[in-house]
Amino acid sequence: MSGLYILGYFIVSFFALSIIGLFIFWIDRKITARLQWRVGPPWYQNFADIIKLSGKEVLIPENSNKFMFIFSPILALISATICGTILLLILRSELGFEGDLILFVYLLTLPSLSIILGGSASGNVLASVGISRELKLLLSYELPFICGIIIPTIKTHFTTSLIEILKYQQLNGSHIFSISGIIGFIIILISSTGKIGVVPFDLAEAETEIAGGALIEYSGILLGFYKLAKSILLFVIPAFIILLYLGGTTLDNLLGVLIFILKYIFVVVLITLIRNTNPRLRIDQALKFFWGWLTLIGIVGILFALSGV
């Protein structure tokens, strides 16, 4: 597989991921609207948002670090796209090596880190409150998230290759049909809401108290890059959960794609339901929740997985 092929794949998957992500974001908003007995936005709403943001003026604050301020949204977009590209390559069984699970976990923290970089470069007081929350949130949700990743690793005979996990589930059935599988699925679903930054854990962007948090100074297309990165993450993380727990998917034939879409909508609807039925937590409550109960349940799940249940 040559470098040029990978580059071409990256560019194609960037456009594909953007379109899928923005469409998924619409599904999320529409379900939210229907749950609140509203009509909700039309299907092209998120596309209109991005196109509008690309036509707006970009304001750069006087006391900001200009290079980091412009660079961080681009970093967020690129890192989210790299995650998506790797995941698409793995789902189509084209690329895979021992340890790519660990690489993927590292890459998934990059969008959060770029939000922290951008917020701290903007030189705003409220943005600094936002980035301090984002940093604490990053520390707190990583622990149960890793617990949720270790469980399928153990169940697939201690492999750290995503493609091995996928192939094992194609032969032996999905990991979710066991006690430790269910525990792991619930844990990774809840901690992924923190990773995407939706309502129970959106305190880094809390619009009602700190006015957009880390993104407060961003305008125009730079804000659009962040929105696009977030909607790509909304595709990447549910697909990652499907790969780990609801696996056995191939994207080679039409039936496989259809089953994948059904599983995908199931996970997205679960995340949307969590977001619509919970209030926003304070940072200390979120930290206690993640490091307390969720990690404890995660460790119990790991013990179950080790004993083969």
Partner: protein
């Protein structure tokens, strides 16, 4: 009509500027954003920062304390943006036009695109005003 203007009309992000109002118009604006009126079907969303905004919903006479802030918020908003004066006070000064604190009305300070009179205007009339403006916008 170009694509960006079309997109702007379909996705208005609103920032609420309260420039010394009596809170009556503000309560009507809060009502406007509830599920009952559902302005999200037009793509209208409330945002927390003027940097994200396309529409400034301004209420109240602009009093002397608010004068500098209103100017600053207008300068912080990325252009193109729309300024909407909600309520009799923002349009003309209303019953406070001879008050000692009066520095407005709003169109003395920043360019206003839409006037929605009423004391306070109903949410329906705010929606009607904005929809009429969107039809005229070219």
């Amino acid at each position: 009509m170009n694509l960006k203007l079309k997109a702007l009309k379909k996705s208005l992000w609103v920032y609420h500027v309260s420039a010394g109002s009596c809170n009556n118009c503000d309560i009507e604006i809060l009502d406007l954003l509830t599920p009952r009126f559902d302005v999200e079907r037009f793509g209208i969303v409330l945002v927390g920062s003027p940097r994200h905004a396309d529409v400034l919903l301004c209420t109240g006479i602009v009093n002397k304390k608010c004068l500098e802030r209103v100017k600053e918020v207008y300068e912080q908003t990325p252009k193109p943006c729309v300024v909407v004066a909600v309520g009799a006070c923002a349009c003309s000064g209303g019953i406070f036009r001879d008050g000692y604190q009066m520095a407005g009305p709003l169109n003395k300070i920043i360019p206003v695109d839409v006037y929605i009179p009423g004391c306070p205007p109903k949410p329906e009339s705010i929606i009607a005003g904005i929809v009429k403006f969107l039809k005229e916008l070219k």
